[in-house]
């Protein structure tokens, strides 16, 4: 079984590979889409063929982006469930627990001093009741 870091890296690599492939499909469609909308937005009228190409480019983009969304979602879910995230969280919790132990240790030190003070006060109260030297 892979270690948590390698397992996490595998999720990232798989996602990046999928995105690389999908962006190869996205790039020409995006270039065509941008080219045609830029032409339209300079005030020129698009021919029927260009109108059709724009629709096809947009449709291709929607399809590719949907696939990218799915890949992103699959990788996010895998990352959320990964052993690495669980390990990081547990490590931080362990450090926090050690700090809590220190706070308790400090409280115990204060408690010991308080007990000593209480004993001294009791002894002082008893001493007051002792017969005084003449």
């Amino acid at each position: 079984m892979a270690d948590p870091v390698s397992e996490f890296q595998a999720i990232v690599d798989t996602r990046n590979d999928a995105f690389k492939q999908l962006s190869e499909v996205e790039a020409p469609a995006l270039a065509k889409f941008n080219d045609l909308v830029n032409k339209k937005n300079t005030g020129q009228t698009l021919s029927a063929d260009e109108q059709n190409q724009l629709q096809v480019a947009r449709s291709t983009l929607d399809t590719v982006h949907h696939a990218m969304w799915i890949v992103g979602q699959v990788s996010l879910q895998a990352m959320n469930d990964s052993a690495l995230l669980r390990d990081i969280k547990n490590s931080l919790k362990a450090v926090s627990a050690d700090l809590e132990d220190t706070v308790n240790r400090l409280k115990r030190i204060a408690a010991v001093a308080a007990t000593a003070a209480s004993v001294a006060a009791t002894v002082a109260a008893l001493a007051e009741k002792l017969p005084k030297p003449v």
Partner: protein, 332 residues
């Protein structure tokens, strides 16, 4: 009196004062209170990072659900809402009954598919949020150790013991000559010894904790970058669509249309460049400086830590604004 006679042999008051002053200065030089400002700032920055990430989580949840619902309505053949196979029967006291619906989304070529369950569209950044919550607890405990007022409590007890000792001596012999400064000086020495010990316990705990937290925080920094990249596609999808729609439909002769289109492109760009993980970079950087300062007593590292922590507050505000903008955009 044997006690007072013995104490009279101690160094004079002036010498005592010098000795005590030297010892107190010695403690002050390595006091954990030097780390109060960066530890407090680290705690505030962790809180700000957790809060703003929580807001992004909420916005991402809305964006994810919004996308799933739209996709299902557009193309139910590939994207649809389904029930778990054996769910949604009548309530049954003898067995647990659930009614869990989930989205199934598929790409047109059938190569990619995902199942979106409730957690996925209600708490999509749960991993990041969980780590930030753990970091918040860590920062809280770091501050609790640094600010523990044990020395003050011990000093009060020592003062009380001193008063009792004077009381005991006077009770034993009301006529005894008593130099109050002598037990006071002895008390200061006891306080110093306790103070040194308490400081060493606190310092050791802070140093060990920051050292141990370095590795998980460094890993979290890498993880957050990768998670940000995965989250961005869902976070930006509606803005991307709005940007494409507006530029495709824009009337190039209409001022209002041009402004709306420009705003849509900028809104998409803002989301693409939103500083989700860079805030955590600063948090980890500041923690690293704090750990270094505790290791080697470097005030330069402390200043570096404080500088980075200042940036986090601003990044957290930016992130919270982006989350709010996205939330508002999805409502339209």
């Amino acid at each position: 009196m044997r006690i007072t006679a013995h104490m009279r042999d101690w160094p004079t008051t002036a010498v005592w004062r010098m000795l005590i002053a030297t010892l107190i200065l010695g403690v002050a030089a390595c006091s954990t209170s030097d780390y109060d400002a960066p530890i407090q700032a680290f705690k505030s920055a962790t809180d700000a990072a957790a809060t703003s990430t929580g807001k992004v989580n909420t916005s991402l949840a809305e964006a994810t659900l919004n996308y799933a619902v739209k996709s299902a309505a557009r193309d139910p053949a590939n994207n649809h809402l389904k029930r778990e196979a054996k769910d949604c029967g009548a309530y049954n006291p003898a067995t647990e009954v659930r009614c869990r619906a989930y989205f199934e989304l598929r790409s047109a070529d059938g190569e990619h598919s995902v199942t979106l369950r409730r957690d996925d569209y209600s708490d999509p950044l749960r991993g990041m949020v969980g780590i930030l919550e753990a970091a918040q607890t860590y920062a809280t405990n770091l501050l609790a150790v640094e600010q523990a007022n044990t020395a003050e409590q011990v000093n009060n007890s020592v003062d009380s013991i001193q008063a009792s000792l004077v009381q005991i001596v006077k009770a034993a012999n009301p006529k005894a000559e008593f130099n109050d400064q002598i037990p006071q000086a002895a008390g200061e020495a006891v306080k110093w010894a306790f103070g040194q010990y308490i400081e060493s316990v606190k310092f050791d705990a802070l140093r060990k904790a920051t050292s141990a937290a370095r590795s998980p925080l460094a890993l979290a920094q890498v993880v957050f970058k990768d998670m940000e990249q995965s989250a961005k596609i869902a976070l930006t999808s509606s803005a991307m669509e709005a940007a494409s729609d507006s530029i495709q439909k824009m009337n190039p002769h209409n001022e209002s249309d041009i402004r709306t289109t420009l705003a849509a492109q900028n809104a998409y760009d803002d989301l693409l460049t939103a500083p989700l993980s860079s805030m955590f970079d600063n948090l980890v950087g500041a923690h690293e400086s704090l750990a270094k300062a505790l290791e080697g007593g470097s005030h330069l590292s402390l200043r570096e830590a404080l500088g980075k922590l200042d940036d986090i507050e601003k990044q957290a505000q930016t992130l919270a604004k982006i989350a709010t903008d996205l939330h508002d955009a999805l409502k339209k």
